[in-house]
């Protein structure tokens, strides 16, 4: 894995971000709906609405608006939220760590449980454990996030009183949202690990390892797992990206103050700067996650070389 390669990947990020900024800038302005209307509300005079429109910079030509946006972007200024008047960066930064925490917790749960279950199910193919775990995985895939969240709330918050239902005030508050969000990913990772494991176990070199007299545990964990994990790592990378964006439903159900909710609210109120800011941020994170995934590949499989 050459340093050159990493630097090249990072440099390519720039035009990609630029392209994304242009796309999202255009899309929000093409969607019907006028931010000035929404901001001013029904009790405003026409005069005030025009004033607000001017304040938002929306009375200028779209190309001018884009150039202003780019200029500010290069200065690190993502603009101000049209709804709250606060800097977009501040709006995002008060919430992004929460989403990041939730996504990381979920993906950690999903990885630990998913990989473990997948390995056992793959090694003990067709056993009771295998059938049971794959059934549970199917459930995990099919359950709507929204429903699962509310069910967990009913059981663990109301009936048992073990965990709080809403908010992000403490560690305890993380548990239910993380389980809710991670359920889907756990299922996917478990199934992926299992099928990958099944493939790898049948390969010749595994037979060789066993013939050498190595303990089964060593065969599985040292020799088979590394290769089996390659497709799994891909899935984990993709899932992380999805979780960052798809945490919206979980965030809404648990009133978790993250960027998913922020993005939805911004779209509904046509808060252009916030929408643009959040999408750009998520894009950057996604690109980084992919880069890390690729680096992990090369450690898992020395045959993979980048130039």
């Amino acid at each position: 894995m050459s340093g050159q390669y990493i630097i090249r990947r990072l440099l390519i990020m720039l035009p990609v971000i630029l392209g994304i900024s242009l796309i999202i800038f255009t899309i929000v302005r093409v969607i019907p709906g006028d931010p000035a209307y929404i901001l001013a509300g029904p009790h405003a005079t026409q005069e005030q609405m025009d004033q607000i429109r001017a304040q938002l910079g929306l009375d200028k030509h779209p190309v001018t608006q884009y150039l202003i946006f780019l200029k500010n972007l290069f200065r690190g200024d993502l603009g101000t939220s049209t709804r709250t008047g606060l800097p977009v960066i501040r709006e995002i930064m008060t919430r992004f760590p929460n989403t990041l925490l939730l996504a990381l917790a979920s993906i950690l749960l999903a990885t630990v449980f998913g990989v473990t279950i997948g390995i056992i199910a793959g090694v003990k193919q067709n056993s009771k454990f295998d059938y049971l775990s794959m059934l549970v995985a199917l459930l995990g895939l099919s359950m709507p996030v929204f429903w699962l969240g509310l069910m967990l709330m009913l059981l663990f918050s109301i009936k048992l009183g073990w965990f709080p239902a809403v908010g992000a005030d403490s560690f305890k508050h993380l548990v239910l949202p993380a389980i809710t969000l991670g359920a889907n990913s756990t299922a996917i990772i478990a199934r992926m690990t299992r099928s990958s494991m099944l493939e790898v176990i049948r390969l010749d070199y595994i037979r060789t390892a066993r013939a050498k007299g190595l303990a089964e545990k060593v065969v599985i964990l040292r020799h088979a797992l590394k290769n089996a994990l390659i497709p799994v790592v891909t899935v984990i990378g993709l899932q992380t990206g999805t979780l960052l964006g798809g945490a919206v439903l979980t965030e809404i159900v648990f009133a978790w103050p993250g960027i998913g909710r922020l993005l939805v609210e911004a779209i509904l109120s046509r808060d252009y700067p916030v929408v643009q800011g959040v999408v750009l941020l998520v894009a950057i994170v996604f690109i980084f996650v992919n880069l890390i995934v690729d680096i992990i590949y090369s450690y898992l499989d020395p045959r993979i070389r980048y130039h």
Partner: protein, 558 residues
Amino acid sequence: MKMMKEIRRKSISGFVVLLALGFFFYLTAGLMGSSFAQTKPAEVKVKPAEAKPAEAKPADKPKPVAAKPKPKVPQKLIIAQGTDVLSMDINHVTDAPSFAVLDHIVETLLKLTPAGEIAPLLAEKWEVSADATEYTLKLRKGVKFHDGTPFNAEAVKVNFDRRLDPKAATRFGLLVAPIASVTVVDDLTIRIKTKFPYAPMLANLTHQANAIQSPASIKASWEKPVSKPVGTGPFMFKEWVTGSKMVMVRNDDYWGPKPALEEVTFRAIPDDAARVVALETGEVHVAVRIPPFDIPRLKANPKITIDNTASVRTIYMGLNNTQAPLTDKRVRQALNYAVNKEAIVKHILGGIGRVSDAPLSPGIFGYTPIKTYEYNIEKAKALLAEAGFPKGFEITLHPAVGRYYMDVSVATAVAADLLKVGVKADIRMMEWGTYLPFVLRDREVAEHKIFMLGWGCVTGDADYGLYALFHSGEWPKKGNAAAFYKNENVDNLLEAARRTAKPEERKKLYKDAMTIINDDAPWIFLHSESQVTGIRANVKGIVVHPTERVIAREAKIE
């Protein structure tokens, strides 16, 4: 032998890896601790906040009966709304939840009692000129803003200067548009002159959008929203975690009755079900907008009380009076007879609402019951036939989506009722941000035919509820009269009702106007909303105001 060691080593290292992961995770959580609240509200327990054990009090009380001292309950209230407060500047918000929050910190000159009367607040006395153009208010003495600056006529003037300055672009312009000038008469007297006779001026002064902020605070941020609210209210701003919660603490120097509460937190819990759960677990003390289907269960819960208060918000299906076949009054009346409003309120709203018997909600000054169009399919069909539509017609119907209580369900029920008389309504759903500009277009380009809207008469004065919606000068895009209704008699009556300051006269004029409006049926009149709020049984003194505010000024936790 060696292999056992090998396995054990591997197991241990595997275990260590897991431990390391767990530790890393814990560290991350700690690092992210900045996003966790520093001050955990004491009520974030899962069991309802009951009394904390008191410290032992000395037994040498003078009373012969050794009364057990009442345990001290932390007076920290948590209220859950559906959305977060949108700005710290009360002049820059337009939504009821934001007003409800900021209302505790910044106060208005006059207040509207829950019964709908104008009462003193920061102003003690007032005089109105006979022609309703001059309003002289005597302000309360000895009041200070939270930043120590004095409250006086000059402070009020600065606030209205900002409200009237187009560059400051403050919201709710309709409330101050009639103002011509605001002058300081003396340190504690202010005079407001209006451009034309405008009797509702006092009512407008009760609205939170006209609350008085510290001049120092707004001067420092004239054209941008202030970053923290500085007012004269019983609570002071403490912190705002955007999207999550806003915390305020008791103002010990408050000019009025001091609150029993030390601290009030407003949380945003957007999901209805989650908000109810939070109320049931005790994580919040008050939850607004309880969905109808949860009400029986909550009523049966001894730890929760349900408050049902009427709202000043009227929900209606507007009819585009300038587009056939809605130009014909008989058609519009027929549609009113065709819709079973009682059934809608009973079954879709779960009884939470009140069928409209006037274009205004009760409790508003100027309201009198006129009549409801009773549910009568035969009459509807007869009128349609008379108007030339014996077989009905096709038309589009736009519900509001996610804006009002059960809005889509109500609109669907209306469409189903219309079908019974042959009117085939094609339901077109639009997300609110797209919908609002759509129904507020110019008459020439307007495409809406039957459209659902609500209007909160937030000043408690009939003028605000009628003029904006039924005066022909208020057609979009200038105004909100999206039904494009025009009746010169109504115009004259509404204008006359502004010109006189005599309440009895005004009431009569509004009654006449509403009678004509009701007969002309520019809308399908539906219902007024009700507000259903869930409150923990050990919290007393919460007031739910018809203008959609939860007021915690006098609340306490037992």
